[in-house]
């Protein structure tokens, strides 16, 4: 090795002073020799340790694999919860009173007037005249505004060829009032069976 090596050189070992050789030697007995550890034992012990380490490794892989799976599933669950919340929200908006009123008006429904009663003693129907439509918008006045349903199209009943017809989005009554459904004649109604 050169002197410029960054690794410090080990000091040379001091030579052991030689001792005078003894005359008597200790000889192991047969039993002592037999009691000595054998290679087999060593192999078993080392093998056992290796097996334990290996098993532990596998277990740990399995556990962390499970943990990742749990994590994946939790993520999936969160995504599904989010989706279900989103769908619930859309349902809420589709079920908004304004939207239902417009859908009903698009089907040709008009607000009901007073309750009518059948008087059994006279055989006549007792009812007040209908409620006058002072603003002229039938059931689709949209006088209670709703930003969320304003652009929601009203789904009309299926056309004869089976396609779904989307009506115009809900409109607010204004200078150009939306076409009110005719109150007395020619009420458009879905075909019922």
């Amino acid at each position: 090795m050169s002197l410029t090596s960054p690794i410090p050189l080990a000091r040379p070992r001091r030579a052991e002073p030689e001792r005078p050789r003894r005359l008597t030697e200790v000889v192991t007995t047969r039993t002592q020799r037999r009691a000595r550890p054998r290679v087999l034992h060593a192999l078993v012990a080392v093998g056992g340790v290796l097996a334990i380490v290996g098993a532990q490794l596998l277990l740990s892989i399995a556990i962390s694999g499970g943990a990742y799976r749990i994590s994946d599933l939790q993520e999936q669950q969160r995504a599904l919860t989010r989706q279900s919340e989103d769908l619930r929200e859309q349902l809420e908006i589709a079920g908004a009173t304004q939207h239902l009123a417009n859908a009903a008006a698009a089907l040709g429904m008009v607000p009901a007037g007073s309750t009518s009663f059948l008087d059994l003693s006279t055989g006549t129907v007792v009812a007040a005249p209908g409620i006058p439509d002072t603003v002229g918008c039938g059931g689709a006045c949209n006088l209670v505004p709703n930003l969320l349903t304003a652009h929601l199209p009203v789904v009309l009943p299926k056309a004869s060829d089976g396609t779904t017809v989307l009506g115009t989005p809900n409109q607010t009554v204004g200078a150009t009032a939306p076409d009110a459904p005719p109150a007395s004649t020619g009420i458009p109604s879905p075909v019922t069976h």
């Binding site: 943990a67 304004q98 007073s114 209670v144």
Partner: protein
């Protein structure tokens, strides 16, 4: 020669070793036992990250559970302009990416670019706010590596302006108006904290998530309001207001048995989904906040006070001409000519100011004041709505001769429409005034239900008095000349109309407030309805009679009220 074992050197070595062992032991105990928890904490702090978890704000629902206010999740798209502008080639150019985002959000890509270039060295900018799940997923699918979505809590009001006057709205940081604000203690959620550990390269280590503080969802606030009725009444009042050219219109429907408010409407009102664009003047409930001179719908209250205190009966004979000189109090006139020989019942049917001024004058002032207070005037209702007005009854020492008479027909004092509805509820409930109730209950996230303490019912007038006043109100319904407008077939109804002049700067003007108040069915009172509209010209109460009829009809139909039996007990109107 053998060296003796243990010399001074050996001893020193042993001692040194011992000293080291003791030193290590002390340090070990110190680390493992004495400071163990603090050190563990420090270690975990180095590995663990804390993140907030949001509790959901509680819903506001109507009496049937229909959702009026709902908490939803929205997504903000954030970006680090520094990083984004450095990214030019991966997954397409920045311009392409922005065009993709713009297509989803409807924003102009040029405007998005401006957000990025506003401060190119910044590490934080928001490209889009409040995106829905669909929009977020669409942007996620674009695979832009430099945008991050942040989940935020948002509030929607699926029914829009329906009950917008009551619900109020949330600002960015806190509730700003209505029940959202006043009932915040029920609705507010508590955010929690979770912590998780992350590895050297920043990857979240699975199974290390620990909930430090659990998030607590807010409670569900149930109102006494009926969504369908509220919608109907709001539409009817809007129609009435539009056809009258009114500046405001309000209506209240109250259940007589328990004072529950089934509908409280204001026109105009706001859509809480869009409160930022609303007229600041309509961001509350005028019905609660602004009292008005009720006019003649006060007359049944005056009659009830006089009858209950023993000063009059429905048959008390009065000489009540069209115009009458009350001496110090000056001349009081009626709206139209009529037979001057009126009973008190006739005074109500013809809505005679001269008749009711005489009746009001019969009762000592202190006694009247006590009755007014008992009816709930001059004090806020139990609802204690945000910004609620107490109305105004002049203090006793301010009752000059004219004031004490004109108060009998609802001028010189003011009341909110809620106070008027409460007074009619009292008459309908045999004189037992039930505290007004807008909030049914608050159901906390853990299921505990709390009902607001509304206070005790109060017997204001005797049951017989209330019944006599109802009988007189039925005479008004039958004989005030508006039968075609008011008639609800199958039901017996009691009503009173009111036309009040509006005072401005101490002078009565040609502006008017027209009202109708009533109770039905009169034989078994279930609901009281008051409708009022402020009109910038001299309108007549008959112009809102039809609206009262429509609202009351809807109430009776919607709540399946059993039709009346029997006929009205006819009372003489004149003598």
């Amino acid at each position: 020669m053998r060296k003796r074992r243990g010399g001074p050197r050996f001893g020193i070595a042993i001692l040194l070793t011992l000293a080291v062992v003791v030193g290590f032991t002390i340090r070990l105990v110190d680390i493992q036992i004495v400071n163990a928890s603090a050190l563990t904490e420090q270690a975990r702090d180095k590995r663990a990250l804390e993140a907030p978890v949001y509790g959901a704000r509680g819903d506001i629902i109507d009496r049937n559970g229909a959702i009026l206010a709902d908490s939803v999740e929205r997504y903000d798209i954030t970006v680090s302009p520094r990083v984004a502008l450095g990214f030019t080639e991966m997954n397409g150019s920045v311009e392409q990416a922005l065009a993709g985002i713009g297509q989803v959000t409807g924003q102009d890509p040029a405007a998005l670019m401006q957000i990025l270039t506003a401060d190119p060295q910044s590490d934080y900018a928001v490209l889009a706010k409040d995106l829905t799940l669909d929009q977020y997923q669409a942007i996620d699918a674009l695979g832009i590596p430099w945008v991050y979505a942040v989940r935020v809590q948002a509030r929607t009001y699926p029914n829009g302006a329906l009950a917008g006057n009551l619900i109020g709205f949330l600002g960015t940081d806190e509730p700003l108006a209505g029940l959202e604000r006043s009932e915040d203690s029920c609705l507010a959620a508590q955010d929690g904290v979770i912590s998780y550990e992350r590895s050297e390269d920043g990857v979240r280590i699975p199974d290390t998530e620990v909930t430090e503080v659990p998030a607590k969802d807010g409670g569900t606030l149930q109102l006494t309001i009926d969504r369908d009725l509220q919608w109907y009444v709001q539409e009817e009042m809007a129609k009435a207001a539009l056809s009258l050219g009114a500046t405001w219109a309000a209506a209240v429907v109250v259940r007589i048995s328990d004072g529950a408010l089934m509908a409280v409407t204001d026109w105009p009102t706001l859509d809480p989904n869009d409160f930022a664009h609303a007229d600041p003047a309509v961001t509350g409930s005028r019905a609660f906040a602004i009292p008005y001179e009720p006019g003649s719908i006060m007359k049944p209250i005056t009659a009830a006070i006089a009858i209950d205190s023993g000063h009059a009966t429905p048959l008390t004979q009065l000489n009540a001409p069209y115009a009458m000189d009350f001496g110090d109090a000056g001349i009081i006139t009626d709206a139209e000519y009529h037979n001057p020989n009126l009973t008190l019942t006739g005074g109500l049917v013809y809505s005679s100011n001269t008749a009711l001024s005489q009746i009001a004058g019969m009762v000592p002032d202190e006694q009247r004041m006590d009755y007014y207070k008992a009816f709930g005037f001059d004090q806020t209702t139990e609802v204690d709505f945000m910004g609620e007005s107490a109305g105004y009854i002049p203090a006793l020492q301010d009752w000059d001769p004219r004031t004490r008479l004109v108060m009998g027909y609802g001028q010189a004092l003011s009341a909110t429409i809620l106070q008027m509805a409460s007074a009619y509820q009292t008459l309908g409930n045999d004189g037992l005034r039930m505290p007004l109730k807008l909030v049914e209950s608050c159901t906390a996230a853990d299921g505990t239900i709390t009902e607001p303490d509304a206070g005790a019912p109060r017997q204001v007038v005797q049951p017989a008095t209330a019944q006599e006043v109802r009988n007189m109100m039925e005479m008004v319904y039958e004989h005030n000349g508006l039968w075609d407008d008011l008639n609800i077939p199958g039901y017996r109804v009691g009503v009173k109309s009111g036309t009040a002049e509006v005072a401005e700067n101490g002078q009565y003007t040609s502006k008017s407030v027209i009202s109708y108040a009533g109770i039905a069915p009169i034989d078994d009172p279930q609901y009281a309805v008051v409708v009022s509209a402020g009109v910038p010209w001299a309108a007549m109460s008959s112009q809102i009679a039809r609206t009262f009829h429509d609202v009351m009809s809807q109430v009776l139909t919607l709540f399946r009220v059993q039709p009346s039996t029997g006929a009205a007990n006819e009372l003489p109107i004149t003598w």
